[in-house]
Symmetry: C2
Subunit: 468 residues, 2 copies
């Protein structure tokens, strides 16, 4: 082959070997060095280019490793054939979709999502993080238990037993990075042939996730006690998803009788399960928290689900499943494969936060804060009581406002909007045939977690004035 | 009904209202108060028990909320009917499966899993954590972008472009809590009707996960260049999973020609994809890193996957997908539902770690450390070179030792075991019909990341003495 006269620039900031490597690579890519063509020996090339032989060896080595050259013993280096396969990589256009920020700017947003983060004990969290990273640091950076760290699972078990009446062993607790992930995990454990029944209205996010995961879905009307079991029977579902402590969005507390009926339904046939989503039961403003459905389950039919997203912070990404023994076995057999999705360091921070009593103190503080907001909102909306009923109060961080004077949801939302206040239509939470809300009363949802007391008072005032 | 004489103990440490609540609840559960039986008015009961009326109201309120009582306006409280549904919750036996710690104690374990954590800059990580939690703290505790924080995705994009030749926009980068999660996510995006082809031997963990997720799997023999494309054609697979930069466990670097053949295969038919698992390409001890397959992909056929588990620490739980535009659209449509599995705080810590140059410095330091271990192991095993060939060296944190003198894998493993050294049989990584290794040469895998230099030297000495 002809001599390779490579223009080298020692001042280019690119190592000489790399300049050689790039030049030859491009020549081969562009076909200037043809397939099977022999390259100069490294000695010849280094002499020609006036560089050290090791520089050329390094360049040839890289070209060999990437497959641009091949070497034949005692015969030297040859360009590989790229045949017709070669294509230049175009400079891909890296255009980003633009944000079309055309959202309406509300003064007050009663979003049911989000929590009050003003009172979070950041200092304590930071201090614990710092200490965790000092002590025993190396071990924490290794891969942990697929189900989550044993200590934290035991801490959560003990918390759930005391606070929620959940009966389980730490073995049954499985941690995951958020509820969405846990639903994904659950669908892998259960397999997707199942039909899941959900109340309507319901937590739409879970509904959509089940839909996406390929589950069949049925909608069961909720009466004042929650999911109607005779209607559930008719759906042919084998899994029912409920929120017995505080149904979302209706706020219904499922009475013990309905709970026992649901448990009886689940035990009627093998393979039936109840998913209990206990998303915000920490916050109850009157009396004790409502015990979990899992605590009444002697037949191992309840899959209990909880999260620290509401009680600590959404960004924490730690949720937990309590699996019945039968599913636990299945989960361990099938899914011991999946490494935990929660950082071990974060798990240990949370464990300390709970064990040192900070979680309990934080919950008590938040209960007081939310109760004040709750009371303030109820008081502020009082003038509407002539034609408007509050439901789902005394718990959680949202309530429901039902209009009984014939006005439509759209009117209610629009009036609020004109006053700069965002409230959320209940119809958005309905599923299935009930979607269009035939004959249903008009209702809106008001979440009060993210607004300050002043904002709540002012927003309520505006709502009263436009809705009266 | 008869009067309720509830034995109250003001010193029990349990609020009086709760004692009343518990007593009545148990009476209803045990049938001592029958269905539809009327309870004393709260005024009567408070007088009878000599407690304040609000105490009784609180107890009744809780029993109402949980559904043990119902109230009829102006008529008072009635016990609900529990019918035959009621069952006592037994004291569940909380027995734990015992650890049967009967594992053989090796002096030296050449595990291919795990990394060297001695040199991790814990102090810097801790300092960044602390600063992150101070600055702008509140925002970080809110739920973030489902795909991961924009800043970190941009940082990763830039890193991948510079270090791995990956061409993408930050939009195409999706973060997840570990590779296992990303495979779960990917299966939800792709749907499970697909057939995935993997080389044999291969990364068995991914193979098993695909199996569990319900994918069909095909095994394609690897020649010296990696997956054989003509064999791939025959499998009917529409997805091929490859590790072009450093095949696991063989250590093959896929040459450019084979890469282009694979890309051509993927472009031949719509819906075909290549999954490029770029698990340890950061570590290469000779020349530059091998560019990614994604960088040669102009047709949008490569799903690129990488992780910080090897390059930072397994416990960090941050991995990333780079999705081709076509799949990105699908992913965004279907999976915008799923909240990110990575804590926002952790994402910001990692972002700062990379942007301030700590990651690059750490990688360079680790490359030097691993190279020393790699060289030491090669030097230590030199005496075996008469009947034993090293493969897959110059990169990653493991190498392959092939015995060409007819001895069986079992003999090799057993001799090492007797010397207190654990090495890993290649046959464990084979899949499909090739599993039993007909006519294959004997080979073992030695990972050197977790052992110290002294341990490597001593372990190599022992291996030489028992294998010679």
């Amino acid at each position: 082959m002809q001599e390779l006269t490579i223009p080298l620039n020692p001042k280019a900031g690119i190592p000489l070997y790399e300049q050689i490597y790039r030049y030859i690579k491009e020549d081969i890519q562009k076909g200037r060095i043809g397939a099977k063509e022999k390259l100069p020996s490294s000695r010849a090339l280094s002499a020609h280019l006036e560089v050290s032989r090791s520089t050329v060896d390094l360049a040839y080595g890289q070209l060999l490793a990437e497959g641009y050259l091949e070497s034949a013993p005692c015969r030297g280096y040859y360009a590989c054939s790229m045949e017709e396969l070669y294509r230049l990589v175009p400079d891909t256009e890296m255009q980003e979709p633009k944000d079309t920020g055309k959202t309406f700017a509300y003064d007050y947003d009663f979003t049911p999502n989000g929590i009050d983060l003003d009172s979070f004990p950041y200092g304590i969290w930071r201090k614990i993080s710092r200490n965790i990273l000092i002590d025993d640091k190396k071990e924490l950076f290794r891969l942990g238990d697929p189900k989550g760290e044993r200590e934290l699972r035991e801490t959560i078990r003990s918390y759930l037993h005391q606070a929620r009446g959940v009966n389980c062993s730490p073995e049954q607790v499985v941690l995951g990075a958020g509820n969405d992930y846990l639903l994904l995990l659950l669908s892998a454990v259960l397999g997707t042939g199942h039909r899941i029944a959900m109340e309507t209205p319901t937590y739409k996010h879970a509904y959509r996730i089940f839909e996406q995961l390929g589950f069949l879905l049925s909608t069961v009307p909720a009466d004042a006690q929650g999911m109607q079991v005779d209607q559930l029977q008719k759906t042919g579902a084998d899994i029912a998803y409920v929120m017995p402590s505080h149904q979302y969005p209706l706020g219904i507390v499922m009475p013990i009788k309905r709970r026992l009926e649901l448990l009886a339904w689940a035990e009627e046939r093998k393979g039936r399960y109840l998913i209990e989503d206990d998303y915000d039961s920490e916050f109850r403003y009157k009396g004790k928290p409502i015990p979990s459905l899992q605590g009444s389950d002697s037949g191992g039919r309840v899959i209990y689900m909880g999260t620290f997203s509401k009680s600590i912070a959404p960004a924490i990404r730690i949720s937990y499943l309590v699996l019945p023994r039968e599913l636990l076995r299945l989960c361990e057999e099938k899914l011991c494969l999946f490494s935990s999705t929660v950082s071990r360091i974060d798990q240990m921070i949370l464990n300390t936060f709970i064990k040192e009593g900070h979680f309990e103190r934080h919950l008590n503080r938040m209960r007081t804060i939310y109760k004040r907001k709750h009371d303030l909102l109820l008081a502020g909306l009082k003038p509407l009581s002539g034609f408007c009923r509050v439901a789902g109060e005394q718990a959680g961080v949202h309530l429901l406002l039902e209009f009984r004077d014939g006005r439509t949801e759209e009117e209610v939302i629009d009036r609020a909007r004109e006053a700069g206040v965002r409230v959320y239509p209940l119809s958005e939470y309905r599923t299935g045939g009930e979607r269009r809300g035939e004959g249903r009363c008009t209702a809106v949802i008001l979440g009060y977690a993210t607004l300050s007391e002043e904002e709540i008072a002012e927003a309520a005032k505006r709502l009263v004035s436009v809705w009266s």
